[in-house]
Symmetry: C2
Subunit: 308 residues, 2 copies
């Protein structure tokens, strides 16, 4: 029987994967990895230890247990030719839409200002924008970015999107390449949903943040290192940016002494904007293994050069 | 030329109505009311003074400048036979959807708990419900209630609705009459969107609030007196209700010593969930006056016995 090995730093998650995949693929051996595990045909991996690959010479495909593969691609002993597939969506798109829509409604309807007025005991009506007056930009139009962009457009916000290669999507004003400055200049809210690659690391530095209009807000639900922390803090301190909602950070958990924790213009959540739903993820991996065994391409394969 | 009089306690609003209607109905005299104004054919009124109607014997229709007519119907000298029309929607439905969706997403995704964790400097993931696990009830299925209920159902929440008379709406589980207890028992979030009438005043007292499941949340965007303040505070204090979002109050502005201001489980806004959009309202009144003058019914007429 083909063997599937699960390697995951959290025992509960590893066990969940083992049980779910075991049920979905009863004609496979599914086991969690430990030192000396026999060579497997497939691996489901999240942050595998340094020596993992040395003991797995027979792997046909490596399944990332999440959507982001930046950490996996930097693994020092990742075999050069090993195909990698990543989780696509698995319930994450719906959650991203919820998270972003909540934040954008909060900005539009000024709920934070109203909360401050309540705390001050002050009864006062504030001028508020209509949806049509709050243009939103989505940086990265992959599976998740596109789903968020479409949902926001359907809800009535004017939506632009920026992608590496030119794209065209109904109801989204699409930018790429040289259009970055024009794209950013039109964003009252900027949502980051791009993968972390050599190109996107440190992308939002002081100069590019300055291309956003004064009073804009940033929502980062992608990867922390897309943004230069110090440059973001400077833009918030001068008031060029009105606020930032951060779900991801260069180091997670965010170190206790990082200024984001206490910055009055930063709202943060601990990388929970979209959790991979275990049952949907297991079903996706199982159906891809079935496809492979029928001789079909498995879907979700990563292009290592592009980095996602 | 037919005369239209505007009577509104806020001078800016009165002037706005006068200008907008003057532009839309150039073949009418439009003026703001003052003592001794000549008798008019139509009035647009918000909280008219006690003696207003004594000097207006020729009124054919009274247009309420807002959606709620409870204050107008209690005017001591309102002529018995005078038809009253009220603003319907005029952009308010969209705003109600925004307000309610924001609050429900906040509850579902536990953004308040995450804000508290940030303040405590604590990095911790919390269990979160999916949309399908958060049943929402809408009390009152008029124009606004129905629009909110439909939007929430389209977004993926299981939605029930309660109305005075039996109703049937696709994708909404409809209750009426005796079904109240069953309706409330199934609401994890209850949105109040019913008019204030003799029947709804004080409706949500200790007993009916106790019919909500433990841990439910209340959103009142209708009228303050639908809820008995002390009973709501008691239900919040025991933890039977997890929270309340209140946009409306028995007395507005809410008196400075009212416990809602500082209650840790109350979020409040100063009656801003849906502002009548001036341009849309003026267009609605103008088109109703045109209909009247063509001999057609104007729409939006209030049934005084029902109270809305």
């Amino acid at each position: 029987m083909p063997r599937i090995v699960i390697v995951h730093p959290e025992a509960v998650s590893a066990e969940r994967w083992r049980i779910d995949l075991g049920r979905l693929l009863p004609d496979h051996v599914v086991e969690t990895w430990s030192l000396g595990s026999p060579p497997a045909d497939y691996a489901v991996a999240w942050n595998p230890p340094a020596d993992f690959f040395d003991q797995q010479p027979a792997l046909k495909v490596l399944f990332s247990a999440g959507a982001g593969v930046d950490a996996l691609l930097q693994h020092p002993r990742l075999p050069a030719g090993l195909p990698i597939a990543r989780i696509e969506d698995a319930g994450m798109g719906d959650q991203m839409v919820e998270y972003c829509l909540h934040e954008i409604l909060r900005i539009q309807r000024r709920f934070d200002d109203y909360q401050a007025l309540q705390q001050a005991g002050e009864w006062r009506e504030l001028p508020v924008a209509r949806r049509s007056e709050l243009p939103v930009g989505v940086f990265g139009l992959g599976v998740l970015g596109l789903q968020v962009a479409r949902a926001l457009a359907a809800f009535g916000y004017p939506v632009s999107g920026y992608s590496r290669s030119p794209a065209a999507h109904e109801s989204i004003r699409c930018f790429s390449g040289d259009g970055l400055r024009e794209f950013l200049g039109g964003c009252q809210v900027l949502v980051l949903l791009a993968p972390l690659t050599a190109q996107t690391r440190g992308f939002f530095n002081a100069e590019r943040l300055s291309w956003l209009p004064r009073g804009a807000s940033l929502i980062n639900v992608a990867r922390g290192p897309l943004v230069v922390d110090d440059d973001l803090i400077a833009a918030l301190d001068t008031g060029h940016l009105a606020g930032a909602t951060l779900d991801v950070f260069a180091r997670e958990p965010l170190p206790a002494d990082h200024p984001f924790w206490r910055h009055p213009r930063v709202r943060m959540t601990p990388h929970v904007s979209a959790l991979t739903l275990a049952d949907l993820s297991a079903r996706q991996v199982a159906s891809r293994i079935r496809a492979l065994e029928r001789g079909e391409p498995p879907g979700g394969l990563v292009d290592r050069e592009q980095g996602y």
